[in-house]
C-alpha cells in the first residue's frame, strides 16, 4: 500500500485551513495574497479529489483503537451489563449452575438488599455511610502525608534519592503482602503493636483487640493510608517538579512566608494533578476490597464492614448473588454520579489542560 502520500496530506490540509483562517482574520486581501489563495484553492481541490483516501485516513485511528475497544468491551462493559442483568435475577445455588436461565425476579433483589428496615438493607446503608467516612479520612490522610513528603523532597535535602525510594516501598509491595504483615502486627496475643504498647512502653495494662470491634475500622484506615500515600506522594512530586524555581524566588523576595508560598503558588500550580489524583485515589479507596479481606478474612467485623466486602459477603458467603448484584448496581450508579459531579465542578476544563 502506498503509505507516503497519506502521511503527507493531512498537514497540508491543515496548513491551508489555518492560512485561510488567518486571512479571514485580516479582513482585506492584497492582490498577492489573492494569488496565494488561488494557489491554495488548487491544493484544496486536489485534497477534495483524493477524498477517498481521506476517508480511509479518518478510519485509520479507529482501526488503531479497535483492539483496545474490543477488549474494553469484553473485560469491562459486558461484565458490567451482565452485572446489572443479574441484579434482576433470582440467583442462588439452585440456579447458579445454569445462571442464564435463572428466573427473572424484577426489583425483588433491590427491595431485599436496599430496604433500610430489612436485615440486609440496614447493613448496606450502614456500610455505605462507613465507607464514605473511611474514604474521606483515608484520602485526606494519604494526601496530606504525600503532599508533606513531596514538598519536603522537592527542596534539596540530603539523602533525597534514598528517601524517595524508601517512601515508595509500600507502593512497590504487593497489596496482599503488606496487609498480611499488618495483620500479624495487629494480632492481639503476640502482635508487635501490643508488645510495644504493653510490654515495652507499658502504656496499657492489657493488649487491646485491633482486629475486632471498633478498632478494626481504624486499623483498616491505617493500612489503607500506609498503602496509598506513596501514590499521592509520587504524583505530587512529579507535579511539584514542574513549578519553576524563580516563581518561589520572586515570592521570597517579596517577603511571602513559606505557608503563603505554599497556598498561593504551590497549590494553584499543581491543581490539575491534584484533582485528578484525588479522584483516582477516592475511587480506589472507596472500592477497597483487598485490605479488609486480608485483614479480616471473608467476613469483616460488623463495625468495620465496607461496601465492597459486604457485596462479596452477600454474594459468596450467603450465595445471594442477585442481592449482591443489586448492591453493585446501586454502588455503580452512586459512583458514576459522584464522579460526574466532581469532573464537572472541580476538574479543570479541557482548555486549561493545555496551559
Amino acid at each position: 500500500m502506498p503509505v507516503e502520500p497519506k502521511v503527507k496530506e493531512p498537514p497540508e490540509r491543515e496548513r491551508s485551513v489555518d492560512d485561510a483562517a488567518s486571512a479571514r482574520h485580516n479582513g482585506k486581501l492584497t492582490p498577492s495574497e489573492r494569488n496565494q489563495r488561488r494557489a491554495q484553492a488548487k491544493v484544496a481541490g486536489q485534497v477534495v479529489q483524493t477524498a477517498g483516501a481521506g476517508r480511509r485516513d479518518r478510519l485509520f485511528p479507529y482501526a488503531l483503537i479497535a483492539p483496545a475497544s474490543v477488549m474494553e468491551l469484553l473485560i469491562h462493559i459486558i461484565p458490567m451489563a451482565l452485572g446489572v442483568y443479574i441484579a434482576f435475577l433470582g440467583l442462588n445455588q439452585f440456579t447458579i449452575g445454569n445462571w442464564l436461565q435463572a428466573p427473572f425476579v424484577g426489583l425483588e433483589n433491590f427491595v431485599t438488599g436496599l430496604d433500610p428496615d430489612g436485615p440486609i438493607g440496614s447493613q448496606f446503608y450502614a456500610a455505605l455511610l462507613r465507607t464514605v467516612v473511611y474514604t474521606l479520612i483515608s484520602v485526606g490522610a494519604a494526601w496530606a502525608l504525600g503532599m508533606f513528603a513531596a514538598v519536603l523532597l522537592t527542596s534539596k535535602v540530603k539523602g533525597r534519592g534514598f528517601l524517595r525510594t524508601l517512601f515508595l516501598t509500600p507502593y512497590a509491595l504487593p497489596q496482599y503482602v503488606g496487609a498480611i504483615a499488618w495483620a500479624f502486627m495487629f494480632n492481639q496475643r503476640d502482635g508487635v503493636i501490643n508488645r510495644i504498647l504493653v510490654q515495652d512502653l507499658g502504656i496499657l495494662d492489657e493488649g487491646p483487640f485491633w482486629l475486632l470491634g471498633g478498632n478494626a475500622f481504624w486499623v483498616t484506615v491505617v493500612v489503607t493510608v500506609w498503602q496509598f500515600w506513596p501514590f499521592a506522594f509520587l504524583m505530587l512530586l512529579a507535579a511539584l517538579q514542574n513549578i519553576p524555581d524563580d516563581v518561589y524566588e520572586a515570592a521570597a523576595l517579596d517577603g511571602a512566608s513559606l505557608w503563603k508560598q505554599f497556598t498561593t503558588i504551590t497549590l494553584p500550580m499543581i491543581r490539575q494533578a491534584n484533582v485528578v489524583m484525588l479522584l483516582i485515589l477516592s475511587l480506589w479507596i472507596f472500592n477497597q476490597f483487598n485490605i479488609p479481606y486480608v485483614l479480616f478474612g471473608p467476613a469483616s467485623p460488623p463495625e468495620a464492614t465496607l461496601i465492597s466486602p459486604l457485596i462479596y459477603e452477600q454474594s459468596f458467603n450467603y450465595w445471594n448473588f442477585g442481592v449482591g448484584g443489586a448492591m453493585s448496581v446501586l454502588l455503580l450508579v452512586a459512583l458514576v454520579i459522584a464522579s460526574a459531579f466532581y469532573i464537572k465542578l472541580v476538574m479543570p476544563k479541557g482548555k486549561a489542560l493545555h496551559d
Binding site: 451482565l82 443479574i86 483487640f209 478474612g297 467476613a299
Partner: protein
C-alpha cells in the same frame, strides 16, 4: 513505564473487585451445563489428563501435596492418565467451587466438606453416582451407611462419594492433667467446665493467666457452626424445624450457643485472644504448647506430630448427662470429606476412574492413615492400621454419638450466618462485653433473618 504499568495493574485490580461477583459470573457465558446424567462410562480405556482439587487435610498445603502425589503416581502408573493436583485451603475452597460452578470451567474431580453436599447437589453441576458410574467405584454397599448418607439430600441420588470420615472428640494435654492430679477426662459438661476452671492458672505468678482450661478457634465460622449444632442437639433442639425451615432461636439452640460463648465469658476458661483464631489448627497448637489444656477437634494428629508433641490423649466429648440417649447424646456431626466429579468434565471416564482409585481399599488405607481419618468402607474397619485407641474412639463416636449436619440445600448458608453470629458474640466477650441469653437469641434471630 514501570509505574504506568503498575498504575494500570492497580486500577485493574480495583475495578475487577467492584464487579467481582459480576465478572466471575460473566466468565460463564460460554458455559451451558445441561444436567444429563452420564450413565455410560468406560473406565478401562482412558487417557489424557484430569485436574483434581483437594481440600487441605494435613498441617499444610505442602504436606498434603506430598501425601497425595504418591497416590496420584500410582494412578498414573496404572492408567497413564496425568493428574494435575491443586490443594486448596478451606477458606477458599467453597468460593473456588462456586466460581467453577458458575463459569462451568472447573476441575474434573474435587473434594468437598461433606456438610456442603446438599448445597452443592442443588447446583446441578456434579455427576450423579448411580448406574454404571456407581458400579465403577464398587457400589454403595462397600461404604458405611452413615458416611454414604452424607453424599447429598435425603431421597436424591448422591452427587458426592465419601472419602475420609471424621468426628469431633476431646483432646487434652496429659501432662497438664497429671500435674493437677486429674486422672480422668471430664464426662459431663458440668465436669468439663469445672476441670477447665481448675486448669485455668497463672503458673508463673506474674498476675496474668498463662494456662487456659480450654481453647477454641473463635473466628472459625465452620467450627462455631458445628458447636451450635452439637450443643443445640445436646439440649434437644435442631437448627431446622420439621418442615426444613431454619429455626435458630429455639430454646435448645440458644442454650447450647450460650454455653459455648460463656466458656470465654462467665466461665472464663478460654483466653479472650482465642476470639482472633481463624482455624482449628491454631487452637490445637495452644494445647501442644501447653497454653491450653483441652480442645475439641476432628483430626489434630498432624499438628501435634509436626510439633513432636505426643503428650496428648483423646476422649469422648462431654455431654449434658453421661447417660443421655438419642439426639441428646450427640457428640459430633458426621464429619468428613467427600469427593465429587464435575459434570462438565471433558474426561468423565478418567475422572470416575480416579475416584474409584481414591476410594479403593489400598488408597483409603494409605490416605486415612496419613490424615488421621477413619476409613469410609466397612472392610477396612478390621484393618490393623485402624486399631489405635484414638481411631477406635472416633469410630465409636461416629457409630453411637454422631448426627449428620442438616441435609438441606441452604446448609452452607446456615453454617455461614450462624458461625458468623457466634464469632461476633465471642468478639464482644473478648473485648470485655457481657453477653446474656437475650443477646444470644437476638444474634441468632438476626442470623435467621438473613437466610
Amino acid at each position: 513505564m514501570a509505574t504506568t504499568d503498575r498504575l494500570a495493574a492497580r486500577g485493574g485490580t480495583v475495578r475487577r473487585v467492584t464487579t467481582l461477583p459480576l465478572a466471575v459470573l460473566a466468565a460463564g457465558t460460554l458455559a451451558a451445563c445441561g444436567s444429563s446424567p452420564a450413565e455410560d462410562v468406560d473406565t478401562e480405556n482412558i487417557s489424557g489428563s484430569i485436574t483434581y482439587w483437594a481440600s487441605n487435610q494435613g498441617d499444610s498445603v505442602t504436606e498434603d501435596e506430598q501425601v497425595l502425589s504418591e497416590t496420584i503416581e500410582r494412578f498414573t502408573e496404572e492408567t497413564g492418565v496425568e493428574v494435575e493436583l491443586e490443594v486448596i485451603p478451606w477458606n477458599d475452597l467453597q468460593n473456588r467451587i462456586l466460581t467453577a460452578v458458575s463459569s462451568g470451567d472447573g476441575p474434573d474431580v474435587l473434594n468437598i466438606g461433606n456438610t456442603w453436599a446438599a448445597s452443592m447437589q442443588a447446583t446441578g453441576a456434579f455427576l450423579e453416582w448411580e448406574g454404571e458410574v456407581l458400579e465403577a467405584i464398587g457400589g454403595e454397599e462397600r461404604f458405611i451407611g452413615s458416611s454414604w448418607a452424607t453424599g447429598g439430600a435425603e431421597g436424591e441420588t448422591p452427587t458426592s462419594v465419601p472419602l475420609y470420615a471424621l468426628s469431633y472428640s476431646l483432646y487434652y494435654n496429659t501432662e497438664i492433667f497429671e500435674e493437677n492430679g486429674i486422672e480422668e477426662p471430664p464426662g459431663t459438661w458440668e465436669e468439663f467446665v469445672d476441670v477447665a476452671q481448675e486448669l485455668t492458672q497463672d503458673t508463673d505468678d506474674d498476675g496474668s493467666i498463662d494456662q487456659w482450661g480450654f481453647t477454641l478457634a473463635g473466628a472459625s465460622i465452620s467450627n462455631n457452626a458445628h458447636a451450635a449444632f452439637i450443643r443445640g442437639l445436646q439440649h434437644g433442639g435442631e437448627l431446622y424445624d420439621e418442615d426444613g425451615e431454619p429455626d435458630f432461636t429455639n430454646d435448645a439452640v440458644v442454650a447450647g450457643v450460650e454455653e459455648w460463648v460463656q466458656l470465654m465469658g462467665e466461665d472464663g476458661v478460654v483466653s479472650p485472644s482465642d476470639a482472633e483464631l481463624v482455624n482449628g489448627a491454631e487452637s490445637v497448637e495452644q494445647v501442644a504448647s501447653g497454653q491450653a489444656a483441652m480442645v475439641f477437634d476432628q483430626a489434630p494428629g498432624n499438628v501435634f506430630s509436626n510439633r513432636d508433641f505426643d503428650g496428648y490423649a483423646a476422649a469422648e466429648m462431654p455431654m449434658l448427662d453421661v447417660d443421655a440417649t438419642g439426639l441428646e447424646a450427640t457428640q459430633s456431626h458426621v464429619a468428613g470429606i467427600n469427593i465429587s466429579v464435575f459434570e462438565n468434565s471433558d474426561n468423565i471416564d478418567a475422572a470416575v476412574a480416579f475416584v474409584a482409585h481414591m476410594t479403593s481399599d489400598e488408597e483409603l488405607t494409605y490416605l486415612n492413615q496419613e490424615f488421621t481419618a477413619l476409613p469410609v468402607v466397612s472392610d477396612l474397619y478390621e484393618d490393623e492400621a485402624f486399631q489405635s485407641e484414638e481411631i477406635q474412639l472416633k469410630q465409636q463416636i461416629l457409630e453411637d454419638h454422631a448426627q449428620p449436619m442438616p441435609l438441606y440445600p441452604s446448609e452452607s448458608q446456615m453454617e455461614t450466618v450462624v458461625g458468623t453470629a457466634i464469632r461476633d458474640l465471642l468478639a464482644d466477650v473478648a473485648q470485655g462485653g457481657e453477653v446474656t441469653e437475650d443477646d444470644v437469641r437476638e444474634a441468632l434471630a438476626t442470623a435467621e433473618s438473613q437466610m
